[in-house]
């Protein structure tokens, strides 16, 4: 019973794909091909992220995390969050479990959001790729707009939430 509940979302998407297959066979096959491709991508990138996450959880003491990314980490914490997010590889959904371990270890909420922002859009490998595909001017302009943008969005979200809400999110992270 529990298993069905956990996989509810997955089961629904299988249903939609099956429906698509019935309505338009070609589109259904295409959907499965894309899914197969994304699945391969997930198998390739996700395992090392979770291994690193486990190592982080076991080896990095809470005090270290608090010192570098915690409540009083200031500008240093902001810069480090951007660097950590930008050095990452993999799709944004890989960032969420890493962020959860950061929260568990006492990183500041705005820094967590900056880390997510950097992971989503200023990743270094992607930046190099963007430069070659769309030009140096395009990639650099986007980077210069993105860095302040990410920080402003992070602080805006932190301010818009009630302290109890943030506490609940940290509570949830420590149970994951």
């Amino acid at each position: 019973m529990n298993l069905i509940k956990r996989y509810r979302f997955f089961i629904i998407t299988i249903g939609i794909t099956a429906l698509l297959m019935i309505i338009n066979r070609e589109l259904g096959i295409k959907a499965l091909q894309v899914t197969g491709y994304s699945f391969k991508e997930m198998l390739l990138v996700i395992p090392p992220i979770f291994v690193l996450l486990g190592l982080l959880d076991v080896w990095v003491p809470r005090e270290t995390m608090v010192k570098y990314l915690g409540e009083n980490s200031g500008l240093k914490g902001i810069l480090l969050s951007i660097l950590l997010g930008s050095a990452a590889a993999g799709p944004l959904y890989g960032a969420f479990p890493v962020a959860a371990v950061f929260m568990k270890k006492g990183a500041k909420f705005s820094n967590i959001l900056i880390f997510l922002g950097a992971w989503s859009t200023t990743k270094i490998p992607m930046f190099l790729f963007e430069m070659s595909a769309l030009g140096v001017k395009f990639a650099l302009t986007r980077l210069f707009v993105n860095i302040p943008g990410i920080i402003i969005i992070a602080y805006a979200i932190s301010k818009l939430l009630k302290p109890q809400e943030i506490e609940a999110i940290y509570e949830n992270a420590s149970n994951l």
């Binding site: 956990r6 979302f9 997955f10 629904i12 998407t13 794909t17 698509l20 589109l27 295409k30 959907a31 894309v34 899914t35 197969g36 994304s38 699945f39 997930m42 990138v45 996700i46 090392p48 992220i49 979770f50 291994v51 690193l52 996450l53 486990g54 190592l55 959880d57 076991v58 590889a89 799709p91 944004l92 959904y93 969420f96 479990p97 962020a99 959860a100 922002g117 989503s120 859009t121 490998p125 992607m126 790729f129 595909a133 769309l134 001017k137 395009f138 302009t141 986007r142 707009v145 993105n146 943008g149 969005i153 805006a156 979200i157 939430l161 609940a168 999110i169 949830n172 992270a173 994951l176």
Partner: protein, 161 residues
């Protein structure tokens, strides 16, 4: 290349960890596995959803939507397409470059790339699981609005409007 480096770093760190403390390393691997197993259902759902979306919204359809509409309406359409799709960078950037060549504006491409990378409608269920509904909605909404600012600046600086 990024993947190769990720694996190299991971392997070196695991070996180092194992050399220093066997027990702790096993604990770390167990924790990693638990975290993965915990989110696996959502990951699988997201991957299926990406398949469905990209089958319907394939690069040709995206080109039609973004390539032919100009001005702020074009920016709006591009941002919507970017928000609901999840395309890996090495497919997205060449597609965007192709669109530019076939006549799409820089502003529209800026909106598309920005919302594609920062807004995740498809990954919303994963985000909710870790951060709750409020944060997920706020983050995606603000990132979506931000993609218009990026579009405007890119249009000004790169497109010279």
């Amino acid at each position: 290349m990024g993947n190769l480096m990720l694996y190299a770093i991971t392997i070196v760190l695991v070996l180092l960890s194992f050399y220093k403390d066997r027990e702790k390393t096993l604990k770390a691997l167990k924790k990693g596995w638990k975290a993965f197993e915990n989110i696996l259902p959502q990951f699988l759902g997201v991957i299926m959803l990406v398949g469905i979306l990209l089958a319907v919204l394939n690069p040709e359809v995206i080109s039609k939507i973004i390539g032919s509409s100009s001005g702020w309406w074009g920016v709006f359409l591009a941002s919507v397409v970017g928000a609901i799709t999840l395309i890996p960078g090495f497919v997205a950037f060449p597609t965007a470059a192709m669109l530019l060549k076939s006549g799409a504006g820089y502003m529209q491409i800026g909106a598309f790339i920005s919302s594609l990378m920062m807004v995740g409608v498809v990954t919303f269920p994963v985000e909710v699981k870790y951060f709750g509904k409020n944060v997920a909605i706020l983050r995606n909404l603000l990132a979506y609005l931000f993609s218009f600012i990026v579009a405007y600046v890119i249009g000004k600086v790169v497109g010279g409007i």
